[in-house]
């Protein structure tokens, strides 16, 4: 990884040009990284306890999420894949909505329709991801085109994984972005794995970053376990896009420390030594060492910060456990702007049976036909 941009070495020493962030800003990045790890831990516990169905963690990827989201403005867009929820929280997704989404309960803004780990936050332009790998890439490009056409200086950060670089959405998206010169930053998080397929098996190209010049714009490799390198590379790419100079692709090289999801056992396909080697490069430990050296956090303070975060997270979990069930009418709502005749009738047939069986709730009544 010698060519990748690095500012902090794994031991926390400074080896590159520091971005001009204040102590308070640095500390905030650190807390956001801790929060992501704390939420992952809690969500995994809830999953094991059978309270939620599925977790796709970002453990080990905290520097990529926090570093790449930090330079975004509130009106910029973040197009996500599976693991960017922590970045959404950092930009303003309320923790309660995050947890409600994991519970897929009635407080979820998506009305419990998506499986876990599919967040959205309209207020900070963080749209809902489908599940279909690579499809959000062209959406981000089209939306960036719309921003550009209105003469706005909004930038679109389009996230995806190493596996997604093989999708047709990757090719279409980068190709259109280059031709249209849209204000977008492609953020490829190369976390080593696409479920059980190593990122080295995705392409015969020299690197993922090497693909970008073929589409007419630069590709930059970044140490994805170095939050300052991620922040700095992203800030540059965003400014370039804002100036109207077109897209950039960042490849954040990192490692998915846990399984693909709560349903995956990674020991089946990867060596413990590889995981241990990456553990030594842990992004949070690295940043902590730097911050201690700089006097921004003190030795042992991390544990206190984590305790505070967990208290906050647990309170939110407690609240969300008590959410009411989804209204049955949501079965047929939001398919179209208005519920069409055939769906009203399908629902009415269904609710007549539910009422006969005593399964209907108050308010579940039929639609007028």
């Amino acid at each position: 990884m010698s060519s990748a941009l690095q500012i902090l070495a794994p031991d926390g020493s400074v080896v590159g040009e520091l971005p001009g962030l204040s102590d308070a800003e640095l500390r905030e990045l650190f807390v956001h990284m801790l929060q992501i790890r704390c939420m992952d831990g809690r969500m995994l516990k809830l999953q094991r306890a059978g309270r939620i169905g599925f977790v796709g963690t970002a453990t080990g990827l905290e520097a990529t999420l926090v570093g790449a989201a930090a330079p975004l403005r509130q009106d910029d867009w973040l197009w996500s894949g599976l693991r960017e929820g922590g970045a959404a929280v950092m930009r303003g997704l309320p923790l309660a909505e995050y947890v409600a989404q994991m519970y897929c309960n009635a407080n979820d803004t998506a009305k419990g329709r998506q499986m876990c780990n599919h967040f959205q936050h309209k207020g900070t332009n963080y749209p809902s991801w489908s599940s279909v790998i690579g499809t959000q890439i062209t959406h981000g490009v089209g939306a960036a085109f719309a921003s550009m056409r209105r003469g706005e200086d909004t930038v679109h950060a389009i996230h995806f994984g190493d596996g997604a670089t093989s999708s047709n959405g990757f090719h279409s998206g980068l190709n259109f972005a280059g031709v249209w010169k849209v204000p977008a930053v492609f953020v490829c998080t190369d976390n080593g794995w696409a479920i059980s397929v190593a990122s080295s098996a995705q392409t015969a190209a020299k690197s993922f970053a090497a693909k970008a010049p073929a589409y007419g714009f630069p590709g930059v490799e970044v140490d994805g376990n170095d939050v300052l390198a991620c922040q700095s590379a992203m800030a540059d790419a965003i400014e370039r896009a804002r100036r109207g100079e077109g897209p950039t692709m960042l490849v954040l090289k990192t490692y998915r420390m846990l399984g693909h999801s709560s349903s995956d056992d990674p020991t089946k396909y990867r060596a413990d030594e590889e995981v241990e080697a990456w553990a030594k490069r842990d992004p949070i430990a690295r940043f902590e060492r730097y911050l201690i050296e700089r006097g921004v956090v003190s030795e042992g303070e991390r544990a206190d910060l984590e305790t505070q975060l967990l208290v906050k997270i647990d309170a939110v979990i407690h609240e969300q456990e008590a959410a009411p069930p989804m209204a049955l009418k949501t079965l047929v709502e939001d398919v179209y702007a208005e519920v069409p005749y055939h769906l009203r009738r399908e629902y009415n047939d269904f609710i007549a049976v539910a009422e006969k069986l005593g399964h209907a709730q108050p308010g579940d009544g039929a639609f007028p036909l």
Binding site: T109, K111, K122, S128, T138, H139, F145, R149, N168, Y336
Partner: protein, 325 residues
């Protein structure tokens, strides 16, 4: 009123909305200065500028994926897929993304967009310039599927589709592009996206059809009247999703004898839905089994396409068979 061909009416519809709404953008392969391979977008780049009507790279997946992003961020994209046969690289974007976005986001994000595409046979286009894939799309919740058969409806339905808050697949019968002409009102008007059109009144046999099959059925109905005195009620469905179900059932009840005509293959074709609706909701009115006149369950042929496509003789035979049952 102007007397226009169907493709001129499409062009007029696009111009009308582009004039009224600056957020409408038209794009696709060769739609810019050339005006599209069928000339549906002729003159739009010249009249509205390159930022309103433009060519894209050759990628249906890219065209539809970026259209969704534009729609999510305030534009009203009208994307052209050059032939419906080439829509399948974008099938994922249409079915998994555009159609499901409103639902999966609980209504927070939507994709108000139109995909225009010429469909159907009759131009000697072989397997890949002739297909009628409406059933794939009508099967997809969240998508609207619209097929005009007259210049008047082409313009009115297109304007309604572009103004609609949901994604619409607008399938244009290329066989009718220049073969039908009709009166088209000037300026803006819309045709409702869930109301069928009664083409011809009659009390003996009901025939459902849409798109390029409408003139074929009209000819057959005229022959049935002339030769046998059979009065056909001809229904142009116009919007396959959402379907005017009440109108469909009403029309079936009026005669008790039903024929469904489409050029797409029969198996799981749109006619199956019409037959099933009638069987479920008004079987007691039926005097004869429902007959379907359709394309074959084969790939689209080339030199034999005139045998593959339902013609007035096959439709007439079906009319007689349900009438004489």
């Amino acid at each position: 009123m102007a007397n226009l061909t169907l493709i001129q009416a499409v062009n007029d519809g696009l111009r009308t909305v582009m004039k009224a709404d600056d957020s409408v953008v038209v794009f696709g392969e060769d739609v810019g200065p050339k005006g599209g391979v069928f000339l549906a977008t002729e003159g739009l780049t010249a009249d509205f500028g390159e930022s309103r009507c433009f060519d894209t790279p050759l990628s249906e997946d890219g065209i539809i994926g970026t259209a969704i992003g534009m729609a999510m961020n305030g534009l009203r994209p009208v994307a052209e897929i050059q032939f419906q046969d080439f829509i399948f690289p974008a099938f994922d974007q249409i079915v998994s993304e555009a159609a499901k976005l409103r639902y999966r986001s609980g209504g927070q994000y939507t994709a108000p967009m139109v995909i225009r595409t010429p469909y159907g046979g009759g131009i000697r286009g072989g397997l890949y310039h002739s297909q009628s894939g409406e059933a794939y799309f009508a099967h997809t919740a969240g998508l609207k599927v619209v097929i005009p058969s007259t210049p008047h409806d082409a313009k009115g339905l297109l304007i309604a589709s572009i103004q609609d808050p949901d994604p619409v697949l607008f399938m244009e019968p290329k066989a009718l592009y220049r073969s039908v002409k009709g009166e088209v009102p000037e300026g803006e008007y819309t045709v409702d996206l869930s109301t069928l059109r009664t083409v011809r009144q009659g009390g003996d046999v009901t025939i459902y059809c849409y798109g390029a099959m409408v003139p074929v059925v009209e000819r057959a109905a005229a022959q049935a009247a002339e030769q046998r005195g059979i009065d056909c009620l001809v229904v142009d469905l116009r919007t396959l999703m959402p379907l005017d179900e009440e109108g469909v059932l009403e029309a079936a009840k009026q005669t008790g004898r039903v024929v469904v005509v489409h050029e797409a293959p029969r198996f799981c074709g749109y006619g199956a839905e019409i037959s099933a609706l009638i069987a479920e909701h008004c079987i007691e009115y039926m005097e004869a089994p429902v007959r379907r006149v359709t394309g074959f369950d084969t790939p689209f042929p080339n030199t034999l396409e005139h045998h593959y496509l339902p013609d007035d003789r096959r439709v007439l035979d079906a009319i007689e068979s349900v009438y004489d049952f």
